[in-house]
Symmetry: C2
Subunit: 254 residues, 2 copies
């Protein structure tokens, strides 16, 4: 029997963001791996085994799934959001490259999902309607100097910026540092969106400005979008504002 491994994006939050392809891929798998709370979002199916793991064990989780698939099982590794954006797909590739040569022969497929910034942007309007970048604010896996350099470059060049992993208990100061850095390039009126737990029952959306962004609470479930000079806010009575970045910009160089 020839095994295979599918790395499947569930999207953020509940079932609404699952794609048809993800539903099919989850259904035909013999074995599911993943971070416990993500696995809990997948409906149970008879004959399908589950291997939940802690959030901090990506490497070991990927190796276990690869070994299981090499034994002939059809293995699905579930991931929140999109598996290719700060998630499990890169981890699986890392382990394939570092592992036994036979792992390279395994049938591996990645099933894309709605990543948090797309769901958050949709809630707010169309803040990613023009050029944008996505950056993890975690300095667990890269030097803080590199993050600063990227934030500087992105803000200076006029990209809208989506910040993943903005805050954790072990990283309390990085986000305010990032806002201070943006303020060197951008006016205080630039819109900033905080989207927390998007797609979940307790989801919330806060639209503020760069000048006051430091006063808004954020945690690991928050996705932050910092606008560019072009990003606009449409106030609406009795509704949250629409935030968007126009497709066109003036033909005068920024």
């Amino acid at each position: 029997m020839s095994g295979r491994l599918s790395v499947i994006g569930l999207g953020p939050g509940d079932q609404r963001y699952l794609t048809q392809e993800a539903v099919n891929a989850l259904h035909i798998a013999d074995v599911l791996y993943g971070y416990g709370p993500y696995l809990d979002r997948v409906p149970a199916r008879d004959g399908q085994s589950r291997h939940p793991s802690d959030n901090r064990e990506e490497g070991e989780r990927a190796r276990s799934a690869l070994r299981h698939a090499m034994e002939g099982a059809h293995v699905a590794m579930v991931s929140g959001g999109d598996p290719g954006v700060f998630a499990m797909a890169a981890s699986v590739c890392e382990e394939i490259e570092a592992g036994p040569p036979a792992w390279r022969n395994l049938d591996v497929s990645i099933v894309p999902g709605i990543t948090a910034m797309l769901a958050a942007a949709a809630r707010a309007g169309a803040p990613l309607g023009h050029d944008f970048c996505a950056l993890s604010l975690s300095d667990n896996l890269k030097p803080w100097e590199t993050i600063e350099r990227r934030l500087d470059a992105a803000a200076d060049a006029g990209f809208v910026i989506a910040l993943y992993n903005p805050v954790s208990k072990a990283r309390p100061w990085q986000l305010s540092h990032a806002f201070a850095l943006f303020s060197r390039h951008l006016p205080g009126t630039v819109p900033v969106i905080f989207s927390r737990a998007v797609g979940r029952p307790d989801e919330s959306l806060t639209v503020t400005t760069l000048a006051t962004a430091g006063e808004v609470a954020a945690d690991m479930a928050t996705l932050i979008i910092v606008g560019s000079r072009e990003t606009r806010v449409i106030a609406r009575q009795g509704k949250s504002p629409l935030v968007y970045t126009p497709r066109a910009m003036s033909k005068v160089p920024a």
Copy 2:
């Protein structure tokens, strides 16, 4: 009767990328608007009218849909990929801001979709596994000097770069110009991915390097991902290579 407008992402290519939320939103709409080939991807339903339009009429299409919703209809505007990424959601917001004040009271929702770069990345492995940016190479709506400045900033700061709208008949030289510019910052060995018509029967994937990227054909249906210095290629016998950007980078500043 109170009208509403949903702007719905179909994902790239066929039905496999449709989310549950998009399926539901398409089903309950009275009226569908959109670029003809995208509308053709939505199964017909009795009692639902269709208003296909040309690809170049975004503003007029958005205004027609808004007027129709203001008359009380439940209108769905379909968009390829994600409506918030170089697509219809920003166009709808532009028209709401410029239109009659009453348009701001309309119930507007955006349904996110799989954007082309996520589907293309999934096909190749995990090239967007670390910080990345998305940039439209079209200078129809922004000055070429701004595009150059952003390409420079992104390549220099170590972002992986997804290029939307790389080439058209009216814009034949911009892509080779972009590759030349990247070559000032990045070694010729950096992986470059060409993903054409992803999710369609004629889809293709080409993995090459920056040094030879200029020799690969591209058109408006092509999404290009230019790696960073960290992006790696895992060769595989009888299979296309896996391209990925590791989550961790060395703690030495770039």
